[in-house]
């Protein structure tokens, strides 16, 4: 392995040929993106717990170690501080590490290296060093997993300057955003909504095309109300839009996808049209990232608003163990009710 610092076609492409002809799931799109970038940039390495022979507990790195070898796909000792610190060190010295936190609930020990170092290397050294790392985090609830395996903790990272925070909600966006995250010269947290890892398949051409890291997606056009969401809740929100349509309410659905930096323009434009906004997220309500979107609306779209903003979110308590967890997550019913209130109010 040589020390190439810029992307370029690797000398020996691995034998696995991407099957661009079959539809794939969100998690398969992640694997596909990792493989594409590893083939084309040999400074990309993957590291984490069980990412090697085992291919990750969710199989996101399945086959990568077999293809690229143990020097490109590294199992780490069982310590998240270690993973974060090694990742920062490698990134500062010209590699592009893609680290995995096995679950959302285990990433907290990584915060110190992210907040004190990853996002500061460039700033602190006036550009002499920088930190082109990605941290992949299987995120969110609803898979009947044990404690600490169902956290929606994205808000913690959105107040951190210098960071990018993205969360795909479809196979195609998972692919394009992961490529962009790896190529970006600054640190990116890439949250993976594990509840929809295998929700559906779509065709994702393995063409190495990245998506922008600062663009929201309008998934459905509408005139009466804007529903803003991200991650796994895109599913419920789209279902809610269907239900609203049955009642003659035309809902526009926006997948934020790139939380930080936030593409507020797309949201503002939509609200300028609809006059109403419901924000949907899994995380606890208070100081969740929905607060930032509502705040921007209060600052910049106040004259457009025909009704109060509503947030439909997880409650301000912990997501319960699985017997009760679905009662914690925002349901289609709750979204529909909030949207109807907003429409009635205006």
């Amino acid at each position: 392995m040589s020390a190439a610092k810029s992307p370029g076609v690797g000398a020996e492409a691995p034998p696995t040929k991407a099957k661009t002809d079959a539809p794939i799931t969100l998690i398969e799109a992640i694997t596909q993106a990792l493989a594409w970038e590893m083939r084309h940039d040999d400074s990309v390495v993957v590291l984490g717990e069980d990412v090697g022979v085992n291919g990750g507990v969710f199989r996101a790195t399945a086959g990568l170690q077999q293809t690229f070898g143990p020097e490109r796909v590294l199992d780490t000792p069982l310590d998240e501080t270690t993973i974060a610190g090694l990742t920062v060190g490698m990134a500062a010295q010209g590699m592009k590490p893609v680290a995995e936190s096995q679950f959302d609930g285990f990433m907290y020990p990584m915060i110190d290296h992210i907040v004190c170092h990853a996002v500061r290397l460039r700033y602190r050294t006036r550009g002499r060093l920088h930190c082109p790392m990605v941290l992949r985090v299987p995120w969110g609830g609803g898979i009947r997993a044990p404690e600490h395996h169902s956290e929606a903790n994205e808000a913690i990272f959105t107040n951190v300057p210098g960071l990018r925070v993205v969360m795909p909600s479809s196979p195609a966006r998972a692919y394009g955003l992961l490529l962009a995250a790896i190529r970006d010269p600054d640190p990116v947290i890439y949250f993976e909504p594990k509840r929809i890892y295998r929700q559906y398949k779509e065709l994702v051409p393995d063409d190495g095309e990245a998506l922008p890291l600062d663009v929201c997606y309008v998934l459905r056009d509408g005139d009466d109300i804007t529903l803003v969401t991200w991650g796994a809740q895109v599913k419920e929100t789209l279902e809610a839009a269907d239900r609203l349509a049955e009642d003659g309410i035309s809902a526009e659905v926006i997948d934020v996808a790139t939380l930080k930096p936030l593409d507020f323009d797309t949201i503002a434009e939509s609200v300028a049209k609809t006059g109403r906004c419901v924000i949907v997220h899994e995380a606890a309500k208070t100081a969740g990232f929905g607060a930032e979107i509502a705040a921007r609306l209060a600052e910049e779209s106040m004259y457009d608003l025909l009704a109060p903003v509503e947030r439909v979110t997880g409650y301000d308590t912990h997501i319960p163990l699985f017997r009760l967890e679905m009662k914690y997550l925002p349901s289609v019913d709750r979204i529909v009710a909030a949207a109807k209130r907003a429409v009635a109010a205006g």
Binding site: E49, D50, G52, V53, N54, G55, V57, D75, P77, L78, D79, T81, T82, G105, F106, Y108, P109, R144, A145, P146, E147, H148, H149, K285, T286, Y315, D316, T317, H318, P320, L321, F322, R323, L324, E325, K327, Y328, D333, R334
Partner: protein, 357 residues
Amino acid sequence: MTVAATFEIEYLQYLGPDGKPTADFPAAFSDPETLLPLFKEMLFVRTFDTKSIALQRTGKLGTYASSLGHEATHIGIGASMRPEDVFAPSYREYGAQFMRGVHPREILMYWGGDERGNDFEVPRHDFSWSVPISTQCLHAAGAALAFKLRKEPRLAVACCGDGGSSKTDFYAALNSAGAYTLPLVLCVINNGWAISVPRSAQTGAKTLAQKGIAGGLPCLQVDGNDLVAVLEGMRRATERARNGEGATVIEFLTYRLHDHTTADDARRYRSEEEVKAAWERDPIPRLRTFLTTKKLWDEQQEKAWAEACGKRVDAEINAYLASKVQPVEAMFDYLYADPPADLLKQRDAAIALEKRA
């Protein structure tokens, strides 16, 4: 050459895999009768484990972490503690917990997705299961510090795995245990694997026991499939702790005979030969052989006891299966002692939503 310091790690084994003594038993355990009730508990855990896995396979339990193969270590640890001591488990030390009074139904409740599984009827002061690896080691150290400051004659015992011994919290626990001379026993249960990562990939250290040297603690390596060695290791460590001499790190060598959890498939990453060889070191047959030789156990007793175990576990399973799901307000009611007004509003809304549904 000037030598600044030297260290030695002792290895304990008294009962070999074939059930024959490999050394004189320590005085405290020289009467084989003392081992019999513990052997029976080992059999009980194995029954519990087998039935729990079956329960999961039929969809009546969530992900479950088996303790297959760890019985001597777990039972030995639990048997070495006093009720007033504090135990800080990771997530599979059922044997130790049974010795302390935790009900099997509580364990099932927890893996069945119900927080009430952590509301142990007994022992009230033990720590709950700890999923974030090795964090419990520091909590045990904190408990030990509390005991020391309050001059209470109690100690804390924490367990973590071979993988867990790489975790910074484990190092922090042994560092503070040494700094404060804490009444603490840090048990590293080396079962060879941390999910798919073998012990050899965790560290370059020859033994995991030697990590204690970093904190100035005495360390022992113990055959964790030999109940006598486990008991003797724990005896030395708890005695030191009770005498105010501080903490000990013990590495228990055992093997994870099952998958990591029911969500794992170990065939992906480890060889059948390795597992087969590990079964040869199974803690149960060796103790059975020994006790049989000593005329303390026979096939008939085994059969009767197996039946008793099966019945008891079935009763516990039934109790678990009969439990009602908590009402929706449970997720609000245990957050704060004094819940804020906004939270109570959310609670009301959630209850109203339930009623409508």
